[in-house]
Amino acid sequence: MKPAVRTGNHYITGDVACAEGAIAAGCRFFGAYPITPATEVAEHMAERLPDVGGTFIQMEDEIAAMASILGASWTGTKTMTATSGPGFSLMMENIGLGACTETPCVIVNVQRTGPSTGLPTQTGQGDMMQARWGSHGDYELIAIAPSSPQDCFYHTILAFNLSEKYRVPVLVMADEIVGHMSEKVVIPDAKEIALVSRPKPTGRKDRFRLYEPGPNGVAPMPAIGEGYNVHVTGLTHDERGYPVMTPEAQEQMMDRLKGKIRNNLDDIIHTEGYMMDDADIVIVSYGISARTGLTAVDEARKLGYKAGLFRLITVWPFPERMIHDIAARVKGLITVEINLGQVHYEVERCAHGQADTYLVGAAGGAIIHPDKVVSLIKEVFQP
């Protein structure tokens, strides 16, 4: 077997960095279906996985790809798939099954522009609300947005760690530019990479209850073959995992599914600030658009504006409290994203009227030029 962690300095694309991050995180099963601009994740996994004792399978469609990584996860294996808009739409039902059955797995969405087939080879960030609400019903999951190939490496590891710790599907919401651009990616020694694995049950098997929460609200998860005789269903179920068709059982299940995320926000939410200390104009952004925001802050500072960048690494669950607190001490919040307003409305909601909120958006197909942000700043704020 070859080493799983390719320690060293690399010049690779974000897609390849996602694959390397997954392998470094311990991913050993990858089921996928080709789609631009995520195909390279699958191609790299197809080449790498057999050498590290893992399995790659190209399924017949994205529905099957998503189903396969859920099944494989129950064998105790860390699993991933990668896709883009149309494939992401097809995965939605089984992402809901993953959330409902608390099955750890990672889904990389290298976003392109929609709706429908849209601009397959060009960037977009229009799947952000779909990431939050795309599967039917209420549920919680985690979505992370990398801004660079280096992020793709680390954020895929972060995605696996959160997925395993909280038994929840985690979405890595990259985009075409981050996926296809090549940049320096530093891969550290394996021993410097902290890995998390799902909690395992202990104690008597005959008294085991599949969804009995542990101390952090997450139930230990056995693997197929360990003799726990689990029953896993997407029907509303009780702590035994058995279907119970009552509003009370639904409420209990939803309390657990929401609680394990909502009660651990400090651990799950990762953000980054740039020039935030004295900022009174704050750009809120994520993914590739955070790099637009970064340049815009520098340009605005040159013009005498106290601008800062608040970058969301974790987009879902949304950092509601943080945005609320920032809004209380600034003049304006500007959301920069390659869509016509998705995360922007979350910022507006959480600002709760304490600061003015603006959107610098785009219909998709290209990165947003920092000038667009600076123009808005010049238009509505005094230095």
């Binding site: 099963f29 399978i57 997407g234």
Partner: protein
């Protein structure tokens, strides 16, 4: 677990399959006269007869009446999304090839919404056993036309009779590449149990179609009482092992062929992955 629990002979009233049933989930949801329970107990008997430790099995079901089987079997069992039992099971099998994976589901689930997955798993010769309870109808949703409903049959969505032709499932399985293909009815319990046992022990993609009555949602609208259906199974079927699956159309006027259609050797998906994709150290 190295040895399966022995049946509780001394305990009065214990059923010999109790060790494989989630007795705390009984009563089940299946209607009187339904055929699924018979297929289910044949499946459990066949599992037992393999002598393989129970923890080396996993059962995966889709959605529908037959899809509830996974909820009653005391194995690691998965009740998944509609049509997706096979790709879910493929993930299990490819991640842990030592497991014996059973897909137990209905005709609507496996051949309409899940048809694509079926042909691809057969093409890859995914080493699993797929048991299809074919009751010719969507039972759980109240009797809509299925991909297996006979032409002209009345259903709630074909009130004037079914204008379409049904699939010939053994032919489909054979053409797609299955290693083992058989058809039985719930009247042929012993043959069915033996077939499932053979299929479980067979390397490769095994497919068993089981004809089963749905008196509530198919029989009622097509002037067929439960016993009428069983009578058809008795009088209008022909057991012919090795028959050409192209002749396996379900036509009770001409006679319906039962038996093992196909039993052949082909490399399995997991074995071929090992042989083709794992390279020795460069």
């Amino acid at each position: 677990m190295s040895k399966n629990p022995q049946p509780l002979k001394e305990k009065h009233g214990a059923h010999p399959l109790d060790d494989l049933i989630r007795t705390d989930r009984i009563p089940h949801i299946w209607c009187s006269g339904c055929g699924i329970g018979t297929v289910f107990s044949s499946c459990l008997t066949a599992i037992k007869a393999t002598g393989i430790p129970y923890n080396e099995f996993a059962m995966v079901s889709g959605i529908g009446c037959s899809g509830r089987a996974a909820g009653y079997i005391k194995l690691d069992s998965f009740h998944t999304t509609h049509g997706r039992a096979i790709p879910f099971a493929s993930g299990i099998k490819m991640a842990k090839p030592d497991l014996n994976v059973i897909v137990f589901s209905g005709d609507g689930d496996l051949f309409a919404i899940g048809g694509n997955h079926f042909i691809h798993a057969a093409r890859r010769n995914m080493d699993m056993t797929v048991i299809c309870v074919n009751n010719l109808i969507y039972g759980m949703t109240g009797g809509q036309v299925a991909a297996t409903t006979p032409s002209k049959a009345k259903t709630t969505t074909t009130p004037f009779g079914n204008p379409d032709a049904p699939f010939n499932l053994p032919l489909l399985a054979y053409a797609a590449g299955a290693s083992y293909v058989a058809r039985w009815t719930i009247l042929h319990v012993r043959d069915l149990t033996n077939a499932i046992n053979e299929a479980l022990l067979k390397k490769g993609f095994s497919f068993i179609e089981v004809l089963a009555p749905c008196p509530i949602n198919y029989g009622r609208r097509n002037k067929q009482k439960s016993l009428d259906t069983l009578k058809l199974y008795q009088e209008k079927t022909i057991i012919r092992n090795g028959a050409d699956p192209a002749r396996a159309d379900i036509d009770f006027d001409r006679g319906v062929i039962l038996g093992t259609f196909i039993d052949r050797e082909r490399g399995t998906c997991d074995d071929l992955y090992e042989a083709t994709c794992r390279r020795s150290e460069d």
